[in-house]
């Protein structure tokens, strides 16, 4: 039981890290980036190719993160421009459809060029015992990174001037503009940040198992579920929802069965929308 819950928390931190990049972009401009999972996969493929040349893992990971950030910025500077000229639901819908198109292009190109591409960051060493449960080192590393990212993000949005500027745009775009904040610049920075987060997800995800080239759609789906449950635009909400869903996932996978588990997770997302559309910690 203890082991199951601990596994759930590890999985949940991974979910949270996955969701936070999507939720930030949504909170800022109302765009659900359906290409998010594909950007994760892009980072993974880049990192694995760099690693194949014999480069150190850390350097390869940085390369993956940088390329993901670059891809996200490119997306923002090209496809998102017409999207941000729209308002309200029109904007969300157009953003949804355009990022869906981008997801196809990226997925198609990657699976065409690297049909067997996969990233696996192998962390060697004996399992470490945590409160009496042996945990794989890869899982511990991944969780530590997720926690560090959560802490950095919360400090960034809570304490720095730019972070507060971002929050002001989330709350009221027009108001933020009036006090001298440039929403379009803020959005580009946040898109870059979400790309960096996608790159980090690629690395941590591959610490406990290979991340294959066709995982993009599934990653997007889970990011979407976490985003919806946590509250659109909330960093703490994404991690809280991630951990809750992670624990539910492992509990039900352990006691009920895998297919039912996915349905339970999906049901949780649907229920959140119906009962509390703002999500756990949304405004």
């Amino acid at each position: 039981m203890r082991a199951v819950i601990l596994d759930g928390i590890v999985l949940g931190l991974a979910f949270g890290l996955l969701g936070v990049g999507m939720t930030l972009v949504y909170g800022l401009g109302g765009v659900l980036n359906l290409a998010y999972g594909q950007i994760v996969v892009l980072a993974a493929i880049v990192a694995s190719n760099v690693m194949a040349d014999g480069t150190a893992t850390l350097v390869a990971a940085c390369a993956g993160v940088l390329v993901a950030a670059g891809a996200a910025v490119l997306l923002d500077l090209t496809l998102m421009r017409p999207v941000y000229r729209q308002h309200g639901e029109e904007r969300t819908l157009l953003g949804l459809l355009l990022t869906l198109g981008a997801a196809f292009v990226i997925a198609g190109l990657l699976t065409w060029r690297y049909p067997a591409g996969a990233l696996y960051v192998n962390i060697t060493g004996d399992p470490v015992s945590i409160i009496g449960v042996p945990m794989a080192r890869g899982a511990i590393w991944a969780s530590a990174i997720a926690l560090a990212v959560a802490a950095v993000l919360l400090l960034f949005f809570g304490l720095t001037t730019f972070g507060r500027g971002v929050r002001s745009v989330i709350q009221d775009e027009t108001g933020a503009r009036l006090v001298g904040i440039n929403p379009s610049f803020v959005r580009t920075v946040i898109f870059a940040l979400s790309g960096v987060l996608a790159g980090i997800v690629a690395i941590t995800h591959s610490m406990s198992g290979p991340l294959t080239v066709n995982a993009g759609f599934e990653l997007t789906t889970f990011a979407l579920i976490v985003t919806v449950v946590g509250g659109l635009g909330s960093v703490a909400g994404a991690f809280l929802a991630g951990v809750l869903l992670g624990v539910v996932n492992t509990l039900s996978a352990h006691y009920i069965g895998q297919y039912i588990t996915t349905i339970i997770l999906l049901g949780a997302a649907a229920l959140t929308i119906l009962v509390r559309p703002r999500g756990l910690l949304g405004r």
Binding site: L94, F104, G108, G257, A270, I273, L274, P277
Partner: protein
């Protein structure tokens, strides 16, 4: 009262479509089973498209569960026949009704909780994924990835490809007639009102909730019927027959390409994409890239679709300038 002449104009696109569909096999692909099967697939997708168009194009409910609804129809029909050995037609009717009920329920939930386009999209997407998992999980009922062979279909529709083609062509024409009749009736006026401005429509006395549920129920019934008939005509169903990436994405793209909310949009879209599929014999991955580029191009430059573009061009040519616009439902 609408004049006979304007009714004739309203029926013209359907008559032309029916004539073209009837003429296609003898003049183009009568002897090629491969082309015929592509054409059948195009017709099925056009039929899905009409249903989706009724739900999304007419009443702004983003139903990302076309594949799942078709699957409810298809699997519902096949499993019922397999388990009870009732006649095929009963299975199809039950499958269609189940799809209609599921679609109506989804719409009822969305309306009751007043979900916007995006949340409706997410809830229906979640339903699609849950349905796919259910198909995989209920192994003894659905055969999971292996799928089910439709035993009742072997002697009926499976062999006769051109017959199957004509059956789906008839189905499509019937759907188009239903779509047009709805457009011209008071329901169509309500659809247009609530699509343009929901609040204004509500204030003008249009029961927005009720018309949304109508549209979703009728559209879902169409999708379910097409899905059930497709199961019988192909003689085999598997989760990928109705999967999100095989069905929904394609339906969304082809309806958007043809023109959302237009009568012939789905038909034009399905036709163009069938031709693309036939010409593009490259790898599956490159086809996916091309789909993506298509989606991007459509929504960046061409947002109202082919049918809108053609109709507005036609209006510009046929109408002298300065003439007052007449108050009429759109003919698009």
């Amino acid at each position: 009262m609408r004049s006979a002449r304007s009714l004739g104009w309203a029926a013209l696109p359907i008559v032309v479509t029916a004539a073209v569909l009837a003429a296609l096999p003898p003049i183009w692909f009568g002897d090629s089973p491969y082309t015929t099967s592509l054409a059948v697939q195009a017709l099925v997708f056009a039929a899905y498209g009409v249903g989706f168009n009724l739900i999304f194009g007419s009443t702004n409910q983003l139903f990302l569960c076309v594949g799942a609804l078709a699957g409810v129809g298809g699997y519902g029909a096949v499993i019922l026949i397999d388990e009870t050995s009732l006649p095929m037609s009963v299975g199809i009717v039950v499958g269609t009704l189940s799809a209609a009920i599921v679609g109506g329920l989804l719409s009822w939930i969305a309306v009751r909780r007043s979900l916007g386009i995006i949340f409706t999209g997410i809830v229906t997407l979640v339903f699609s994924l849950a349905f796919a998992n259910l198909l995989l999980g209920q192994r003894e009922l659905t055969g999971a990835e292996t799928g089910l062979v439709v035993s009742a279909a072997a002697d009926k529709l499976g062999d006769d490809q051109v017959g199957g083609y004509y059956m789906f062509a008839c189905l499509l024409v019937v759907f188009l007639v239903i779509f047009r009749v709805l457009q011209l009736s008071h329901i169509g006026w309500a659809f247009r009102a609530l699509r343009d401005d929901e609040v204004a429509a509500e204030l003008a006395g249009v029961d927005v909730a009720r018309y949304r549920i109508y549209a979703a129920t009728i559209g879902s019934a169409m999708i379910g019927l097409a899905g059930a008939l497709f199961a019988y005509s192909s003689g085999y169903v598997s989760p990928s027959t109705y999967s999100f990436d095989r069905v929904d994405v394609r339906v969304l793209v082809l309806v958007a390409f043809g023109g959302l909310g237009t009568l012939l949009g789905p038909v034009v879209g399905a036709g163009v994409f069938a031709i693309l599929d036939e010409r593009l014999t490259t790898s599956l991955e490159l086809r996916e890239v091309l789909y993506g580029v298509f989606v991007l191009a459509i929504f960046l430059f061409f947002r109202r679709g082919v049918v809108h573009a053609v109709v507005s061009l036609w209006k510009r040519i046929s109408k002298p300038r300065g003439e007052k616009p007449t108050l009429q439902p759109s003919r698009e």
